[in-house]
């Protein structure tokens, strides 16, 4: 609660001094353990802010809303470390100017919420570096381990089963801060690469395309999995890709704003001989 009060005061200052034009934070949701995004423009509204361990949604995706940052005014936003990584990636991919973002960083262990020092994305580089160092190479999640142990045929059957529930609502896409394209490839119908109907083939196509497009970009915030109305464990796919990318390229996305996209950049001393 102390942290919440501290941050409410910060938000009031930021808004009343005109430092930021908007603050993006959390407000109570429909149940005690759910939180909704809150967008406030005046200091008076600051008391509506909630900050506790239930605030888990990565809010960074709201920053790339068309036109929000085009007036070059600043916006403050509540972010966990993975949200800060998202800001770095969005800045590296030219989707926003990190100087316009004031970060109200926080993290939680159990029900205890703590503040993170710093306001600019660049202030957190040490913290993010330590997350990379400590990120478990072998994740402990039981379901992930189970899927890893499966034979390819079993794994295929597992995902076939999971994807059979997919209704192609694209909530995972809408929830993901990385899915900012003006036109998603699945919405292009000339030609129609990805089938629109939600049968197994189309569902596989969509989820595999999504996994590839997030390779080397996903910060594992979990927005997609929480948004999924049929509870497909999408985090397992993201975890797998993140592991592939760190093992193959030692790439931990979102460390800083100058990080080049891992699948688009190449260096002269890359070991691949096909690079001329």
């Amino acid at each position: 609660m102390i942290t919440q009060e501290q941050y409410r005061t910060r938000v009031k200052e930021l808004l009343s001094s005109g430092t930021v034009k908007m603050v993006i934070g959390y407000k109570p949701g429909s149940t005690p353990d759910r939180r909704r995004p809150l967008f406030i423009r005046t200091a008076e509204e600051a008391n509506r802010l909630v900050l506790d361990s239930a605030c888990i949604t990565n809010l960074s995706g709201y920053l790339v809303t068309e036109g929000l940052l085009s007036d070059e005014k600043k916006v403050a936003i509540f972010l966990r470390p993975e949200g800060i990584r998202s800001i770095n990636i969005l800045a590296a991919e030219s989707q926003l100017n990190a100087d316009q973002i004031i970060i109200l960083g926080f993290d939680s262990t159990g029900s205890v919420v703590k503040t993170l020092d710093g306001t600019h994305a660049g202030d957190f580089s040490e913290l993010l570096g330590s997350i990379k160092q400590n990120s478990p190479v072998k994740p402990s999640e039981v379901l992930f381990e189970q899927v890893e142990q499966m034979t390819p045929a079993e794994r295929f059957a597992f995902w076939q089963e999971e994807f059979s529930r997919c209704i192609k609502c694209y909530a995972c896409r809408q929830a993901c801060p990385m899915c900012y394209c003006r036109r998603c490839i699945v919405d292009s119908n000339q030609p129609q690469w990805v089938n629109t109907s939600s049968h197994t083939l189309g569902n596989f196509e969509w989820n595999i395309v999504r996994a590839f497009h997030l390779a080397g970009r996903c910060v594992e915030c979990g927005n997609c999995g929480r948004a999924c109305p049929v509870n497909i464990p999408l985090r397992l796919i993201n975890r797998r890709m993140a592991q592939e990318v760190i093992e193959a390229f030692d790439h931990f996305p979102g460390l800083n704003q100058t990080q080049e996209p891992v699948l688009a950049s190449f260096k002269k001393d890359d070991s691949e001989t096909f690079i001329l």
Partner: protein, 656 residues
Amino acid sequence: MAKIGVFICHCGENIGAKVDCSRLAEALGEHPGVAVSVEYKYFCSDPGQESVKKAIRDNNLTGVVVAACSPRMHEATFRKACAEAGLNPYQCEIANIREQCSWVHTDKDMATEKAMDITRSMVEKVKRNNNLQPIEVPVTRRALVIGGGIAGIQAALDIANAGQEVVLVEREPSLGGHMAQLSETFPTLDCSQCIMTPRMVEAAQHPNIRLLTYAEIESVDGYIGNFKVKVRMKSRCVDMNSCTGCGDCITKCPLKKIPSEFDCGLGKRTAIYTPFAQSVPNKPVIDKANCIYFKNGKCKICTKSCQFNSINFEMQDEFIELEIGAIVVATGFQVQNNAQYGEYGYGKYPDVINGLQFERLASASGPTAGKILRPSDGKEPQTVVFIQCAGSRDPSKGVRYCSKICCMYTAKHAMLYAHKVHDGKTHIFYMDIRAAGKGYDEFSRRAIEEDEASYVRGRVSKVWQENGKLMVRGVDTLLGKPVEIAADMVVLATTMIPQPDAKEFAKTIGIGYDEYGFYNEAHLKLRPVESSTAGIFLAGACQSPKDIPDSVAQASASASKVLALFSKDKLEREPVIAINNEATCAGCWGCVLACPYNAIEKKDILDRSGRLIKRVAFVNPGLCQGCGTCVTFCRSNSIDLAGFTEKQIFAEVMGL
């Protein structure tokens, strides 16, 4: 409404034997949109092409599919035929039913089915083809030759003599390369420097050649006809304009014991030096790694000796930007360091030397003025052992390939030694004698028969020192007996290997290389002097081990390729380039990084009052090579490749 003509070629028996062409023609005739479907023995023949043209005119065809060999063989042929019949050449596609079908299958029925699939899929593609116009690009008529050895000089002279401008870049202080270091040359035993130096002088004085020595290529951008090359002129600390090359500074330099690179460490040089007496340009350079002034800030004795104030210790590297139309790469080779063969004692015993060091001993301009004297005590060796294949044809410790020149130069060394030390004895350990070439076998026979070189077929297992002699233990496999020879000097026929920075340099200029670092030709047999990058050609030992005649021949061949390129005002380029849809582009710039040709730039889209609406990617059509890397990277599928559009590829896949 599409009217597609399908032309099925038997290619004699090549396709006809494994694909039932009549069935194929019949099946395709029933495919929607196909107006004509015919077979013929050889469509690439004159009557074959005429029949294609006639079918286009008679049926007003909108597209053509030739089901035949690889498009690499005859795509150009049939596109030309289509153009002559009034059809846009890019409405012609080749369905490869030879390399990818008849040649690799044995079951005729299944091969025929597969040929149908391949041809149908191309019909579906061609239905969606657009009329494309070739892109014309200007040609800068200026060649860049990289490397000033015999291959580079030859290529530069040939191009310059044909009236075109050449920039010749050499990274050492003088032209000459390895050939200038050699004593005599096989198979005629003419003096290497006597035939080399006139070429060096000719290149330096040629009005069409701009010579840049002590210079390195910093970067190469652009594409065939329009390269932009940045050259680093390393600072010589000597002003090339005012220096007369009198050499006073060299005699005054207090550092006189630096091992000379040109003499392979057998001779000494000063810190301000010219590599050898006939250097071109014959103006010195300061070796900053050794010069006393650069080490502790004192000395400058050379400055005092110079009457023309040419020495400038403050001189910095300079950069020159060049516009270049074609590039000849002639960067040469190095000799392998034999120290890795501990059993031969190279690097351990001073009298075990490599082939290039022997050249310097035998050369009149060398450290011993042409006398064969052993490095340890300066005495004339009475017995010399030569070990061939020291590093080559050795998959375990050396290289797998044959270094090609060593059999010949070892025979030459034995002859030169016999001519200089009349009662000397030579023993040559060899695996095979490879003396293929004009006058080569005769030459190696002459070494055996006239100059009494004793060839021992077998390998050497150990060389060690004993009582002032080098003991060589080996085996004579023809007699099946071990041999031991007490020698005064041992010469290793060292392998030619790529330059130490060959791979790095290949990446700088954008050409391919093999596992060793030798540069890859576009086709080993049919395009041996072109690199895989259009407009970049290869000459000399940078491609593979070569002797002088081969290097010179390849250099002239490269020059002729350059001149053919320069014979045109404009080049026609395939209009296969990427195009970005600005409406859907998200501006993530992944494509900008992914593009290997730097062809994609950022473009601002402004509203009427000049305010930025958004920034998108823009593909420069002049620089785009149509590789498609950006297309595969673009997450929103905003980039499309003309001639291979998403619609075409999708139709092709769905047609299978």
